[in-house]
């Protein structure tokens, strides 16, 4: 372990040890460690042939597949930096990310690369992800560039408060600090099977992939389109004999509530259920704990810090009527809460959570490097033992099924439509039923509808930021000081618009 330098060495080492073991299992095809390793080398060779080298950014715009994961490894092997982009990202937003990051190459299946507008496509080296590797008479040349711990490994784009996506830069050191903790905590082995629920462009997937690669275990991919189809997820859990599951609580709650999770005994293989991204309501968590003997772990951390605290659920937690704590520091980080005056909060007090240590990101791409502790914007209460209870956000950020969304971004996108006179966006409902609701006053004479407005938004927002519920109203409610009356907006809503089956 000691000579290991880069995130990509995890896969290489397992491929050398157990080339025939399954590495990635997915509907779009499975690959053994040997095959994934070989595919990564082939893609690295093609990228290198296109001039990609250390420090370059490479976009990976693809549905979840073994090939997409091989491309991530290929980029790392060149000492370059990968940027995973959600396959449903509309071309307009893709353009912004491509421009912001100064990416030089794109790995994508042909149908997606064909959608990149031509001025940009001419500047990007495109590698067709799904093209069969060219049979090569030459012996295979393994690629491995030496990286320094502080070299960047990947950039994850998140919702930014100005309407421009922000690229969170993660170094090899940072990712490995988190993975080392996860592997020490979960003690997985080659027989383990990790579910990958989160999209590759979200930070939850980092644990699934690299904890599995560290020990030569299999990662079983869940396609995003059925990530919230309840019976489908339950069937997947059993069929793939999952042993480690990691997702937002919403997915697990959906399986409990609508997927018949409790109707069948827990799979004997299941030994850890991990969740992060939002508080897990205590009721469903009790049901989950009664159903399975698996360890239940609540992980916490914004994309900017990876996972910096965690809490293992104990019977005493289930006796409280509160969400379980986000717990104590991990991954080698120091984590504390500060009062409004900047001093450290004592047990029993509230404050903003602050993180310093190896998992803290290097900065947003193209902006000042992150120096010193990172203030998360999350409000917490310090528990008597020094661990933390999560209270909520300080700012206008909301979470919908684990995705963080700046409401201001969505409002700005609505106002960018010429026919929108007034707009407001709120998050309504709890847990699984939580959706963004937009209220829109159309300007006089404009006649666009729901779908036309969505077309406009799709050019500016990631798919998970487009409100699930868009309503046209004659006016927005204002209070006596002229401020938008958010409470009055909530009133006419009885949960999301949804047809009871």
């Amino acid at each position: 372990m000691s000579e290991r330098r880069g995130l990509h060495d995890l896969l290489s080492a397992s491929a050398a040890r157990t080339p025939d073991a399954p590495a990635v299992v997915g509907p779009a095809g499975s690959m053994s460690y040997g095959e994934l390793d070989e595919r990564a080398d082939a893609l690295a060779g093609r990228l290198s042939g296109q001039g990609i080298s250390k420090g370059d950014r490479v976009l990976i715009w693809s549905p979840k597949s073994a090939n997409a994961i091989a491309a991530m490894q290929a980029v790392l092997r060149l000492g370059a930096i990968y940027i995973p982009v959600d396959p449903l990202t509309p071309p307009e937003r893709f353009l912004v990310i491509a421009r912001e990051s100064g990416a030089l190459a794109l790995c994508a299946p042909e149908d997606l690369s064909a959608r990149v507008p031509s001025p940009l496509r001419d500047c990007l080296a495109c590698v067709d992800l799904d093209a069969a590797p060219v049979p090569d008479a030459l012996p295979r040349t393994p690629v491995s560039t030496c990286v320094e711990p502080d070299d960047l490994a990947y950039i994850l784009y998140t919702s930014g408060s100005t309407g421009t996506p922000k690229g969170v830069c993660i170094s090899h050191r940072s990712a490995l600090a988190f993975i080392d903790w996860a592997v020490a905590e979960l003690a997985p082995g080659p027989q383990d099977r990790f579910a990958n629920h989160s999209g590759l462009s979200f930070d939850l997937s980092v644990l699934d992939l690299y904890a599995a690669f560290t020990v030569g275990a299999a990662v079983c991919l869940i396609q995003p389109e059925f990530a919230y189809v309840p019976e489908g997820l339950v069937e997947f859990l059993h069929r793939e004999r999952i042993s480690v599951w990691y997702s937002v609580p919403s997915a697990l709650i959906l399986m409990l509530r609508d997927g018949g999770l409790l109707d069948r005994p827990a799979p004997g293989t299941l030994r850890a259920l991990l969740f992060a991204g939002e508080p897990f309501p205590i009721g469903p968590l009790r049901a989950l704990a009664a159903w399975s003997d698996a360890r239940l772990l609540n992980l916490y951390g914004p994309t900017e810090t990876n996972v910096c605290t965690y809490h293992e659920v104990r019977p005493a937690d289930l006796a409280r009527d509160l969400p379980v704590p986000i717990g104590k520091p991990c991954s080698g980080d120091r984590v504390w809460a500060i009062r409004a005056d900047g001093s450290e909060a004592e047990p029993g007090e509230e404050g903003e959570l602050v993180v310093s240590g190896p998992t803290v990101f290097a900065g947003y791409w193209g902006r000042q490097p992150q120096e010193g502790p990172y203030a998360t914007g999350d409000r917490v209460k310090v528990r008597p033992d020094g661990s933390f209870d999560y209270l909520g956000r300080r700012d206008g950020m909301v979470k919908i099924r684990g995705h963080r969304i700046e409401l201001g971004d969505v409002v700005a996108a609505l106002y960018s439509h010429q026919g929108v006179a007034e707009a407001a966006v709120i998050a309504v409902g709890d847990g699984l039923d939580r959706v963004l609701a937009a209220f829109v006053v159309r300007s006089r004479g404009s006649a666009f509808g729901n779908v036309a407005l969505r077309r406009h938004l799709a050019g500016r927002l990631a798919p998970h930021m487009i409100p699930g519920d868009i309503r046209f109203v004659d006016r927005l409610p204002h209070n006596d000081r002229g401020k938008l009356d958010l409470a009055a907006l909530q009133r006419p809503l009885h949960g999301p618009q949804k047809v009871q089956g």
Binding site: Q223, V229, K498, V499
Partner: protein, 89 residues
């Protein structure tokens, strides 16, 4: 059920999506080729509701392997999926 054409299924699905997810779509903007996933009309919740609807109203249980960005792309692709499943019965 077996006599339903693709067009029948398509118009029923259009109605379902308009009523369930688009507040009725009084402007009549939704058509068979509207990209449902890209426009956030089928977000994760609504996809789950739609899959349940296909099971209840058509008896079509969509195998996981068929729930993809290709088959759930538009009402047209969805109607084809439903029609094919019905004609196999």
């Amino acid at each position: 059920m077996a006599t339903q054409t693709r067009e029948d299924i398509s118009s029923q699905l259009l109605t379902f999506i308009r009523e369930s997810f688009l507040a009725g779509d009084p402007e009549g903007e939704l058509d068979a080729d509207t990209p449902l996933l890209e426009l956030g009309i089928l977000n994760s919740l609504n996809t789950a509701i739609l899959v349940a609807h296909l099971g209840e109203d058509y008896g079509v249980h969509v195998p996981l392997i068929d729930v993809t960005a290709t088959t759930f792309k538009s009402v047209r692709t969805l109607s084809e999926l439903v029609h094919e499943s019905l004609s196999r019965k």
